[in-house]
């Protein structure tokens, strides 16, 4: 069947894409917009190819594609794509990106390192938390803090960085809700203590839709089964609630071992059915 979601992307693309074309587009250096699109495309299509990987890693050091505020758009896209390729060869180059001047490159690199699940990333990620909550302030004139704390904290949780607990825990008190949620999410993963997850369940009652959405995704990411019903009852889009329950279900099924249809599994499926 046709897939109109990708058809709409094709509308903005002059020609049919293929892995070969995308790699060639990424390797050339004359047309920055073609390189930018090719990096996105390779990640989105999960092109598992040595040449694609090499071209993306080279793009992490690109100097030609600069945004008006001094950012590196191509590097951001290349980092995101490498997070989707599941190739450990990208780990060290991505770690190097954690030192990039561009906040968004650091954010993309942190998220990619989370996806690649390689413990070499732990120490460099913890280093970005230096100075703790006191140093985690807004950059004047920018819509973000000095570091992409949410991405860093979430990566440390996913990487099971138990040695980082002391560095992560204080961020539970950060005044930015999004950062505090990420810290709670990580602390739950690192300690298994339900009190951290329960804070996220409470956040489903928050006044702002954007924060309720955040909490939904956090609870899905940690697969916290006691949140299943509160997730289903949150005032937010069904699409997001379904993604959250999908995460909860994945963990319930994993932990049920051979029991394909445990009571918790069936219960979660029932909640999902009602949201379709």
């Amino acid at each position: 069947m046709t897939n109109p979601d990708s058809a709409s992307q094709d509308a903005s693309t002059p020609r049919q894409m293929s892995p070969e074309i995308a790699i060639a587009d990424l390797q050339q250096t004359e047309d920055t917009s073609r390189r930018y699109y090719a990096a996105w495309w390779i990640g989105n299509q999960r092109v598992a190819d040595l040449a694609a990987r090499e071209a993306l890693i080279a793009a992490l050091r690109d100097e030609t594609d600069r945004s008006p505020d001094g950012g590196y758009p191509l590097r951001r896209n290349a980092a995101k794509a490498l997070g989707k390729l599941d190739d450990r060869a990208a780990v060290e180059p991505l770690i190097a990106c954690l030192g990039c001047d561009d906040y968004y490159v650091r954010e993309s690199a942190a998220r990619a390192l989370e996806a690649l699940k390689d413990s070499r990333a732990i120490a460099p990620l913890v280093a970005l938390l230096d100075g703790g909550v006191a140093a985690a302030v807004a950059v004047p004139g920018k819509p973000h803090l000095v570091q992409p704390y949410d991405a860093i904290l979430e990566a440390l949780g996913a990487l099971n960085a138990r040695d980082a607990i002391a560095a992560v825990e204080p961020f539970c008190q950060h005044e930015t809700a999004r950062v505090s949620y990420s810290a709670h999410r990580a602390m739950y993963q690192l300690t298994d203590e339900t009190r951290y997850a329960e804070v996220l369940v409470q956040a489903l009652q928050g006044k702002k839709l954007q924060l309720r959405r955040s909490a939904l995704l956090d609870l899905g990411a940690i697969g916290y089964y006691p949140a299943a019903r509160p997730v289903a009852e949150t005032l937010a889009e069904n699409s997001l609630k379904l993604i959250s329950l999908q995460g909860i279900l994945a963990r319930v099924v994993r932990e049920a071992g051979g029991d394909a249809l445990s009571e918790q599994t069936v219960e979660t499926l029932k909640l999902m059915d009602d949201l379709l």
Binding site: M1, S8, N238, L242, A250, V253, L261, D273, L276
Partner: protein, 228 residues
Amino acid sequence: MSVNEMTTSGTEAALELARAIAAVDAADSSLGMLRAVAALAQTRSTGAIVKLIEVLRYNNPGAAVAAVEGLVAIGEPSVLPLLELMDGYNYGARAWAMRALSQIGDPRGLSVLLEALVDFSLSVRRAAAKGLGSLLWEAVEPGQLDGMRGQILEALSQSLCDDEWVVRYASVVGLEGLAMGTIEFASAPGTELRDRVAIALQKVATADSEVAVSTRATLAVRNLAEAG
């Protein structure tokens, strides 16, 4: 009740409806909107239908849930307005309208639901896939039953291969509902249709790469086996 009292209560109902509609128009916060829409839905009045459908366009998920609940509770009278006002919706509103049509289950929604199965928006496809499994067969002429079911089976078998896991999931739910319906509202080829659904779902249970989809298919296969 005297004629006089009936007229009075009729006037009061009309006033209450007008006030409830005005309250939706006057709402100035998303929570206020949610409350106003819930109150309007509570009237269960056919006069509320057009406004409830309008609410589906407001990009306020809480209010949309309340509006859908109201439209479903009003039921059959909501179907034609939903079908007529469907064009030109943004995709969020179309998804909510599709949910309302799906839950009402009126067979007049069949062709709209079939079209929606290839909509560009995944939430529209999702709602349609589920709805196709729960049409109210008692409202269908017996002679048309098998043809309609065949169409639905065909369409949902295709959407089992959708790129989006949630659409595949909803298609599993839809097929399960379709097969279950043949037990309650039997038709001659019902057993054959159930077998075809069971085979399709068994394949999803073993082959779909998304855990949510394969697990839901496993449950559907078990439910169908238990239902006989």
